[in-house]
Symmetry: C2
Subunit: 159 residues, 2 copies
Amino acid sequence: MNASTHRTEITLDPDVPLVRITREFDAPPAKVFQAHVDAELFAQWNGPRNTTMRIDHHDCRTGGSYRYVHSVDGFDAGFNGCFHEVRPSELIVQTFSYEGMPDGVALEKLVFEDLGDGRTRLTSTSLVDSFADRDAFVASGMEVGVQEGYERLDEILAR
Amino acid sequence: MNASTHRTEITLDPDVPLVRITREFDAPPAKVFQAHVDAELFAQWNGPRNTTMRIDHHDCRTGGSYRYVHSVDGFDAGFNGCFHEVRPSELIVQTFSYEGMPDGVALEKLVFEDLGDGRTRLTSTSLVDSFADRDAFVASGMEVGVQEGYERLDEILAR
């Protein structure tokens, strides 16, 4: 299967203020996981294509933290959070804030599921404390950033 | 006002899977905040009275993490999380897991509000990703632990 045929599914939970993003990758869980943990690899794919990415720190282990800055046309957007749990090739639980709205914090879970044959399903959920904030986040154009980021990740995994 | 007259209000949000706990203290925000940040003080009040508390680590700063163990009658219960943001005398945003149910993670916000006259209102919210988990948490007897813990905190603040 060609990597570009993988669809990114974004669904809004009807009961709780949560977004669920599901995407398959043509690489085993260990490799997809590593592209999240390794700061240098992470910087090569996270965010939309028109973005310059600068990692401030990316200490992806249980109890660690991260901060990075996306720059687009001279505009800087900082993001930060802490890693609640990092379970190799299986799970990352982290917090996430956009520094332009520091009081809006999301709890994120990334689950790496082994589909066999060297394939992985990544399910990522973002939980916030209001439906209005969840819907504003989705309406902000995060979809393009997620889709383009995962296409860039496909390219790294295919190397 | 006598410290023992302060009520602990526990409310379940009707719209999102969140518990809100509100309590006033006869001490200024800086002092109530310090009793959360300082590991030695925190160990003296957190949890119900019949509990022995052992702090594994308590690095209460933005990007830090914590782990502690409550022991009751030979039974150990471990809790851990990371500190997303710690804003002196104002705010602590952290994650929280009971290690007996490691996949149930809560996002917690503690807001320290200055009521003047050396008094503080502490509002603490816990957000999880399902109403069933939220309600099970409340039904587990957390109310006793929270109330007794805050009574012990009153005693420390009165020193």
